[in-house]
């Protein structure tokens, strides 16, 4: 087997909580707590979870928009976590990001042409003529036209702006795209257009995606493998088909059964998760999910379950699948 394109090992991000006039550290928010995964070339890894689970923080750390507290991010043999800022800037040619709100991430005072040209200037690619040609080429690729280059972000609809956001990410010909909720701000009919575009681009340009979203339907549609996060931890990671057909972690089960399905005849056994997500500044001891888990055991309140492969390619962090506790489930 070939080496994965990206390998994330024991990644952690703790945000300090400072209080008082001296700003002493009073503890920390464990936004991402010991997360490991890999992404193969040409595949899409989906990361799902509810707000505050650390999915965006994980994406931002891979881009080094946030510095990890601990852990390594291996991309093509280099550890991104150890690069200097200048080296990282070069590395970003290969890794680009698409953001949720295209309006907030496009400079309103710059024309689309200028916005798209900028990554090339930053990376010192091509002369003025070549850059212009590349801008026009990319506009066509994402389904816009070259005359759009003269327009400004406010003249576009949400879907078109997201196309510009995607075009900008593709300017430097990257290998890996991290898409953080790229379609959640869009209307349903436009969302489908953008998802189809992303799938086409992946095939044509051999892209690798990390697709971060809270919408489980969207993630299933686009992902080959899916990781479920809860309170800073990866609780389950599997092939998309496996995860959706046979979720193992009680949280994944609850999450999947909570998604409303657009079919009035569809009946299912609903596992209604009670309670709220606990605060990440004071997470529960042991398994962080035990406060909402319907299958809680004694061990769950004291011992943190590790992410263990229980079937080929299907890992889960739950004591229910630990032979030591000898369960029948």
């Amino acid at each position: 087997m070939t080496e994965p394109l990206l390998k994330v090992n024991n990644l952690k991000k703790y945000f300090p909580i400072r209080k008082g006039i001296l700003g002493r550290e009073q503890g920390s928010i464990k936004a991402v707590d010991d997360v490991s995964f890999y992404v193969n070339e040409g595949e899409t890894l989906g990361i799902v979870g509810e707000s505050g689970c650390g999915k965006s923080t994980t994406g931002r750390m891979i881009m080094r928009l946030l510095d990890p507290t601990e852990g390594s991010i291996e991309f093509e043999g280099k550890d991104l976590a150890k690069l200097s800022n200048a080296e990282m800037r070069k590395a970003r040619r290969e890794i680009q990001m698409v953001f949720q709100d295209p309006y907030a991430s496009l400079n309103p005072r710059h024309s689309i042409g200028k916005i798209l040209e900028e990554p090339l200037i930053v990376h010192g690619l091509g002369d003025s003529k070549e850059r212009k040609r590349r801008v026009n080429e990319l506009l066509e690729i994402v389904g816009l036209s070259s005359y759009h280059a003269k327009r400004y972000p406010h003249q576009f609809s949400g879907g078109q702006r997201q196309r510009v956001g995607i075009a900008r990410a593709l300017m430097t010909n990257p290998k890996l795209i991290i898409a953080d909720e790229p379609v959640s701000a869009l209307d349903v009919s436009i969302q489908a257009q953008v998802l189809n575009l992303m799938q086409d681009l992946q095939q044509d340009l051999k892209l690798t995606y990390i697709f971060i979203a809270h919408d489980l339907g969207v993630v299933r549609h686009i992902s080959d493998r899916v990781g479920v996060m809860y309170l800073g931890k990866m609780v389950e990671l599997a092939e998309s088909e496996q995860l959706y057909n046979q979720p193992l972690h009680p949280y994944s089960k609850g999450l999947l059964s909570a998604v409303p399905v657009p079919d009035p005849d569809f009946k299912r056994e609903q596992i209604l998760l009670t309670g709220d997500i606990p605060s990440p500044s004071n997470p529960p001891r042991g398994c962080t999910f035990h406060t909402r888990c319907p299958f809680k055991m004694d061990a769950c309140t004291s011992e943190v379950p590790g992410l263990v492969e229980v079937e080929k390619g299907h890992s889960v962090a739950c004591h229910l699948y630990d032979e030591r506790f000898n369960n029948d489930i």
């Binding site: 209307d187 009919s189 489980l216 339907g217 657009p262 009035p264």
Partner: protein, 340 residues
């Protein structure tokens, strides 16, 4: 289901926004009714007029620039569009209550939950003592499933989670036993597991208190799981209306079909999503012909020229599309509903 009384009737409602770019009809001659105890879904994409419809019913259209320019909204025979501000204030809360998408912006951060709940009670029951009002507040909070209700009365909105805040909003809306609850995207800002809790609560309350609910949403999944009847809106008009089973199993309007097929299904993987081409038009930009013609794969010449009527295709099913013209259900007494 048919015999149920119509609580609220909206007839030929038109709400126009007068802006620098001219008059924009955000809601363009829509007619529908809400029956006693039912859950009616209104679904559509941004700019389709679903929120303006609800604000028009509540008399909360920001004015200027907005104004109800024609039509009537009948509640128990009273036309709400003709009432004064003072009379309308009595309707709001007591007859029709509303909850919004983001509960944090609807709650005052400077007052405790108890303060805000009892204020709502005392406005409508002027003779009540504070003690009686706060007892009622606790009762309401228990009804919506809030834990440790007595303690929560003393807490501030920021101390509550998103799901709890939305429960407080529902408690506040139901405090005067309204007949109608309008919920405008009540779960859009919430996580899915919390959304499931809130939708379940709204269904329970609908059964227990027999409050009719008008649920405004963009999420077809939420409609399928919660509503009995659904209205699909596009660019200020109703394009399809019918019982949920019919609309999802046998959608007639090309827009409804496209919308249902555009949603990625969590249960199985589609190779490729169906997508409606083009963009969602801004209200008022389509001047002639069917509003959907520019994006419709079935569009023919006539669609560019005339706007189709809302044709009654089955007993409770209406569709605004020329493809359904002449295919109306046996219409002895029911003629195609006239619309502009």
């Amino acid at each position: 289901m048919n015999s149920r009384k119509e609580l609220l009737q909206v007839r030929e409602l038109e709400t126009t926004f007068f802006t620098d770019d001219g008059a924009i009809p955000a809601v363009d001659h829509i007619s529908f009714s809400l029956k006693e105890g039912e859950i009616l879904g209104i679904v559509g994409e941004s700019g389709c007029g679903k929120s303006v419809t609800s604000l028009s019913i509540m008399g909360l259209v920001p004015s200027p620039p907005g104004k109800i320019t024609s039509g009537e909204i009948l509640l128990d025979g009273k036309d709400l569009t003709k009432l004064s501000q003072k009379e309308m204030r009595k309707i709001r809360g007591q007859e029709i209550a509303m909850i919004f998408q983001e509960p944090m912006t609807s709650l005052n951060p400077l007052f405790t939950i108890g303060n805000q709940l009892t204020e709502a009670i005392l406005i409508h029951h002027k003779s009540w003592s504070k003690k009686k009002a706060s007892a009622r507040a606790v009762e309401m909070m228990k009804l919506v499933g809030l834990p440790r209700a007595e303690e929560l009365l003393k807490e501030y909105p920021h101390q509550l989670s998103g799901g709890m805040r939305q429960r407080v909003m529902i408690a506040m809306a139901l405090v005067c036993d309204p007949k109608i609850l309008i919920a405008d995207e009540p779960t859009t800002a919430l996580d899915v597991t919390i959304q499931a809790q809130i939708l379940q609560l709204m269904k329970d309350l609908n059964v227990r208190l027999n409050t009719a609910v008008m649920l405004i949403t963009h999420d077809l999944g939420v409609v399928a799981e919660t509503c009995e009847r659904v209205i699909v809106m596009y660019n200020g008009q109703i394009v399809e209306e019918g019982p949920v089973e019919l609309i999802f199993k046998n959608p007639e309007h090309p827009y409804t079909k496209g919308l249902i097929h555009s949603v990625p299904d969590m249960r199985f993987k589609k190779q490729r999503l169906f997508s409606i081409s083009g963009n969602v038009p801004k209200p008022g930009t389509v001047k002639q012909g069917c509003r959907f013609a520019a994006r419709c794969e079935y569009a023919f010449d006539r669609c560019q020229q005339e706007n189709p009527n809302l044709y009654q295709t089955a007993e409770q099913h209406k569709t605004r599309c020329f493809l359904k013209e002449g295919k109306e259900a046996s219409l002895d007494d029911r003629t195609a509903i006239e619309s502009k």
